[in-house]
Symmetry: C2
Subunit: 398 residues, 2 copies
């Protein structure tokens, strides 16, 4: 049998992160590559008890569920969204298999192959994969530490007429950056002016190191779901645990309803055991206290990594200290190619993701994404030392 594959498959490149993980299999490698949360912080006992309570509700808990998701969980999430200045009703929300699925559904609902999507440069790798898989042209506006450059964004909005704008304005992946309020309101105004919906992807917004800091979402600046141009996605993957695969999207009812139509064909509904477990968890567990605990611990780990980078003896190593999230975005000495460096770094027993993977347009080849949440203490120290050694040798060779 001679299989012919669709063009969407051929447009999909295998994920660099996955290839690296394959490279590291069976070796003693310190990996800063994955975007993995800290396992030891998962609220295992609370999840276990919550799951068990689901079963006490009887056999009905194992039956087919609604495509839009378990209603009590949607109601609880609406309460949480309202607390963040995003008042929505349950029919303005859909539960998905992680927020990753929400991104694919939104793209399938709002775009045709050949349409254009506007993104920050660099941006989240797996969203670039969704855009490639759905045949979209990706136009990237450059960003600085305050977010997307609005002039660049407007030029693309005017000239390329994108059907969607995709941004991660709070502790973005890969850069960890936080957009300023001006850029948030500025993009919102631009998108209203040009009539283009914004997909605000917010997996990391809760993981802020300064408990008193506040970063209003673009959705909250827009005011409301109905008639609004912002679609917002969130997830429990970073605040509870990834295995429960539960994310959500909120936005205008018409979009949510069409997402449900597509989801019905795509997988009928996501795991209702997971959704019911999360609902029971929210009922009996102080999730916000837990999130504070995670964020504090991640803040410590970030500062540890920063101190190691400062002391590692490599000149011309630059980064902006993140205020939240899971990643530090490193700039290596100019003209050093992070992909080439990775090969020798893996030999030395350390892995990271070369920044090139996250660019839609022209990449900065000397950039690196470092995760600081998964690897701790002495392993983190050993990893940064190995990285410094690899950079040192590489720089000497040039």
């Amino acid at each position: 049998m001679d299989y012919r594959f669709s063009s969407r498959v051929n447009q999909l490149q295998s994920s660099a992160v996955r290839d690296i993980l394959k490279l590291t299999q069976g070796q003693e490698i310190v990996s800063f590559a994955g975007g993995l949360p800290a396992e030891e912080l998962f609220p295992l006992d609370a999840v276990r008890q919550a799951a068990d309570r689901v079963f006490t509700n009887g056999s009905g808990s194992l039956q087919y569920g609604l495509t839009e998701g378990f209603l009590p969980l949607r109601e609880q999430l609406c309460g949480r969204m309202a607390n963040k200045g995003m008042p929505v009703s349950p029919d303005e929300m859909i539960l998905t298999t992680g927020s990753q699925q929400a991104i694919d559904l939104i793209v399938r609902v709002l775009t045709e192959p050949g349409d254009t999507v506007l993104v920050e440069n660099p941006t989240y790798l797996a969203s670039l994969q969704v855009f490639a898989m759905n045949g979209l042209n990706v136009e990237a506006a450059e960003s600085d530490n305050d977010g997307m450059l609005l002039d660049a964004a407007e030029r693309i909005l005017r000239e390329r007429k994108p059907k969607l704008v995709y941004v991660v304005p709070t502790f973005g992946n890969p850069t960890g950056r936080v957009w300023s309020l001006e850029r948030r309101t500025g993009l919102l105004e631009l998108c209203r002016k040009y009539g283009v919906p914004i997909l605000e992807d917010d997996p990391y917004g809760d993981i802020r190191f300064d408990a008193s800091a506040s970063y209003p979402t673009i959705f909250s600046l827009g005011g409301q779901a109905e008639g609004g141009c912002v679609l917002y996605t969130g997830t429990f993957s970073k605040t509870v645990a990834p295995a429960l695969r539960t994310g959500w999207a909120i936005g205008d009812k018409r979009v949510i309803r069409n997402m449900a139509k597509v989801k019905q064909a795509a997988d009928l509904h996501s795991s209702t055991l997971d959704q019911q477990t999360l609902s029971e968890l929210l009922r009996h567990f102080a999730l916000d206290d837990h999130i504070r605990l995670i964020a504090d611990e991640y803040g410590k780990r970030m500062r540890h990594m920063v101190s190691l980078l400062k002391g590692c003896g490599v000149p011309e190593l630059n980064w902006a200290e993140p205020q939240g999230g899971m990643f530090i975005w490193l700039e290596l000495p100019e003209a050093l190619d992070a992909e080439a460096l990775l090969r020798s770094a893996v030999q030395k027993g350390v892995a990271f993701v070369p920044g090139v993977s996250f660019y839609a347009g022209e990449p900065k080849r000397n950039t690196v994404r470092m995760n600081f949440t998964y690897t701790t203490g002495q392993r983190m120290e050993a990893g940064v030392a190995r990285l410094a050694e690899a950079i040192g040798e590489f720089t000497a060779r040039r």
Copy 2:
């Protein structure tokens, strides 16, 4: 904000079944409409214990998992597939969110918008939705009680050059029919001749009323995954429980690998809590004994419904008694429109799915899909009586 939706969304019709369920909300209705398994037969305690064992494995059980699915469960499923004459290795298998997702992934991997898919007429509604959503032309070959008519199939294969053939050869939804061995081997030979892959969807194959009966899958007749033209999908939704949302696809490695690429962008992976729970369940629970118990009970319910239909006093009511699965396919008196009937049936307190929803080509408007697994005893009796009453009034009015 003026949202414009993609053509794929506009091609999707809202599911008739869902619309009916809305119609019946808040009313005392006996529903033969849903394709729901019997809740009281779910192995609730075994699932509960299995889930609890997952948590004893520690926090790692809540971390991100592989896109292809939890490896121990794939290994266990390979054993089960081998027992059915389908020897495959774990890298010839991918776990999905129900088998519904496997269908969407296969379509995304093997077809482009505008391509043609060949199906039986009538066929599974939610697959027709996948085809519509992905912009496919659907060509339907007529079927009789032995399966798809091979002459009709070959004509379409030759003239319309489909990229995929989709069939449910064992206790199909909606008809409950079983293909004969000749039709199975016949379609396999045709698809080899024309170089077209077959998607063999088998959610009901285990639910056979005669324990000694054997219906070899088309995949097993094809011999092997590598280089074979059959992709096979299965699910735990009918044998364990739908809430766990775990299905699988097996087939040639190249297809599976590309499905994983698409799935990575679509949702990263399905719930690993569900997958680990099922793995623990298979380790400690006699699933095949449980399946026998379900099938025996469903057989009883089917015979009960058949006896009620026989005694309900409506002349010209026809059906073929199913040998397995969850549905009876009724032919109402000629020229009676099942959609029109539904409206008055709902008034009387009974619901079903008009057959028209399941046709890709010209529908038989006097057909009805009746589920016999969810409603039992006196409620089933009341439901059939109400249906007979509705038909009687309807026939009198004509």
